[in-house]
Symmetry: C2
């Protein structure tokens, strides 16, 4: 298990197996030694999990002291009992760590429609105060995984401060407010309002721009705690570092998309608005026909044209003004550029990252989104991810 | 090749190979002996094919005399040359059959981004007047196929009149105005306005309610010719027969969806509006996670909850008022109904048709949509459908 090069001051964590489903890591607590400024964004799903309901209540005052996360069970569609269970878990952890329950943000991820095994969880939570240690955040990145093939974490320095980020999620991924689960911890000193605005800007350019399968999770959460132990840092520096880290993590999520063999990056330029650019880019990155063509190394760029075309709401998009390129290889510019491009495109598709660039010719806005190809393995994973 | 039990009077057709891509049937002409009242609906794709552009011009006066359809090449993203080629084909057929070019509705379906092989097409069209015969419409249903595994056609009687319908399309199917290609021929006598309204109503409840892969074709066309040779029929009878036939054909399309092993029928009831019911039903039928679970016989109904939840625009949908059933098996009603349902659900999923019924509890509107599961074969077909 790889550790991080450095850790923010004043954060401790533990990660363990409490037996929710099997014997792998399924439970983690990440806590700050002191109450921290905090911000969070959640799924907009109408079927959100119990943890989301509780998390929304607890983030209101812009202060948190701990994240409590279980994998293997999403605690979604579990009614009043499910909600009571989440509140119980939060209270048990609060009692253990001697912090306020309202300063805990809970998350659950995994199967939908099952009650949490509360007896096992109670036993697992007992005594965790003694298990909390600094410099083991990287173990938490393992504990939050479901069908992820690898942990996703990053660390960087901003002056004297350190920012650490981790996330999970490889399926049911088309975040509309945040990705499945992503957590950031920093010892920089930032006000809750600054954090909130920062998080909003960063999420909208990163986690909200990825899609593995168009399915929006019931458990999406991205949250950040800033405990201030390293003092102030320039806000612009912090924002820049945060954006860069979130972009890397968003790409990590997309490239580890269920069954993915390739990372797809779609950039739409010369669009009438950011919204138009994003909508067209999402249409391309989400098209099963585009995704299977890329998996199959099929130079069928016509499917990109189809995916642009199905954004029917934009009557200002005219095929004669559109161009389509893969990497630097232009294949369509108002019309097909000839069949000799197909051989070059087939060669380009061998890359593990495929960049599709579209120019709409309707304005000067642009957007970049990330996704992955659609493989046999996606079908296998999701046909067999049995309840 | 199976023939139809009866044919409408005054329609002749031919179907042949003109060598567009291989040696299978790839070209067909269906013509009425006399000019016919006609109506048509087309894709709303911004990247629509040349045939759509010409078809839109020709349907304006509510009169047609022939459909001219080629498969294996969609003539999309082919610029001015592509448009000129479609006009040439229409004129060649008009000259051959001695009918007006403006009374011909052309269609092209197949690969995007290639010019039609005009030399071969000119040779193929020569002499077709002599090949046009009555009572061989069923051969046309073969000639319009691309990756379809079987022809889709129906015939019925309405009094003395006969209505015949055929369609094709198994991928790039989420019609927004019409499905890929569907043609109806009747000898009933109907006014163009009646036909137009009838077509609109029927298409919105049938072809616009199916989705194989969320990808909207660049070539969607559904058209009907009524040549009046059998005289008048009661409009209500005609509409009823037309709706029933279009429903059957829409289900045929969905169940032959690329790689499909099962037909999915999703009905959403007790919704606030038809639009809400349709949106939620489409969200379910289009969810890759729902589709793969059904392919894998996984009783993971939580994914249906997820797909309802991601319709975030409907804040009136409350999980505690929702119920979810598979066939007659209720699995969720405000909360999960227990894990003993899972075994029964696994058994139910063995059926070749899977019916998902959701009640939203927000009103009294309903909608039914059709789709199919997502299998290895879908990935295979579309990773290998090489340009």
């Amino acid at each position: 298990m790889q550790s991080l090069p450095f850790y923010p001051k004043g954060f401790r964590s533990c990660a363990k197996n409490v037996g929710i489903r099997d014997t792998t890591l399924d439970f983690t607590v990440i806590a700050s030694d002191v109450p921290a400024a905090a911000a969070a964004m959640f799924t907009q799903s109408r079927f959100c999990g119990a943890a989301i309901t509780v998390g929304r209540e607890h983030i209101v005052d812009g202060q948190l002291q701990a994240f409590v996360i279980n994998s293997k069970n999403a605690n979604v569609a579990t009614g009043e009992q499910g909600l009571a269970n989440t509140r119980d878990i939060v209270q048990l952890v609060a009692d253990e760590l001697q912090i306020a329950a309202k300063d805990i943000l809970p998350s659950s991820t995994g199967v939908i429609g099952w009650q949490l095994p509360m007896d096992k969880m109670r036993v697992g939570i007992q005594g965790i105060a003694a298990e909390m240690r600094p410099e083991q955040l990287h173990v938490s990145a393992h504990a939050i995984m479901t069908t992820d093939t690898r942990p996703k974490m990053r660390a960087c320095r901003i002056g004297d401060a350190v920012l650490v980020g981790m996330c999970k999620g490889v399926g049911m991924i088309e975040p509309n407010m945040a990705t499945m689960l992503a957590y950031f911890m920093t010892d920089a000193q930032l006000a809750p309002d600054q954090l909130k605005q920062c998080l909003n800007e960063v999420v909208n350019l990163t986690f909200n721009m990825i899609s593995v399968d168009t399915d929006t999770s019931t458990s999406d959460t991205v949250a950040i705690m800033a405990n201030g132990l390293a003092g102030e840092v320039p806000l612009a520096d912090f924002k820049q570092a945060f954006l860069a880290m979130a972009t890397d993590l968003a790409r990590d999520l997309a490239s580890d998309g269920e069954g993915a063999t390739k990372l797809l990056e779609v950039t739409v330029e010369q669009a009438a608005s950011f919204e138009q650019a994003k909508t067209v880019a999402k249409s391309i990155v989400n098209s099963p026909l585009v995704k299977t063509a890329i998996f199959g190394l099929d130079p069928n760029w016509g499917r990109v044209a189809m995916a642009i075309g199905k954004c029917q709401q934009y009557t200002d998009i005219l095929p004669e003004k559109v161009s389509i390129a893969f990497g630097d290889l232009l294949v369509y510019q108002g019309q097909a550029l000839g069949q000799d491009k197909l051989e070059q495109l087939t060669a380009y598709l061998q890359n593990s990252e495929v960049a599709i660039r579209v120019s709409l010719g309707t304005g000067d806005a642009s957007a970049t989104v990330w996704g992955c190809d659609l493989s046999y393995e996606y079908v296998k994973i999701n046909g067999e991810y049995t309840t």
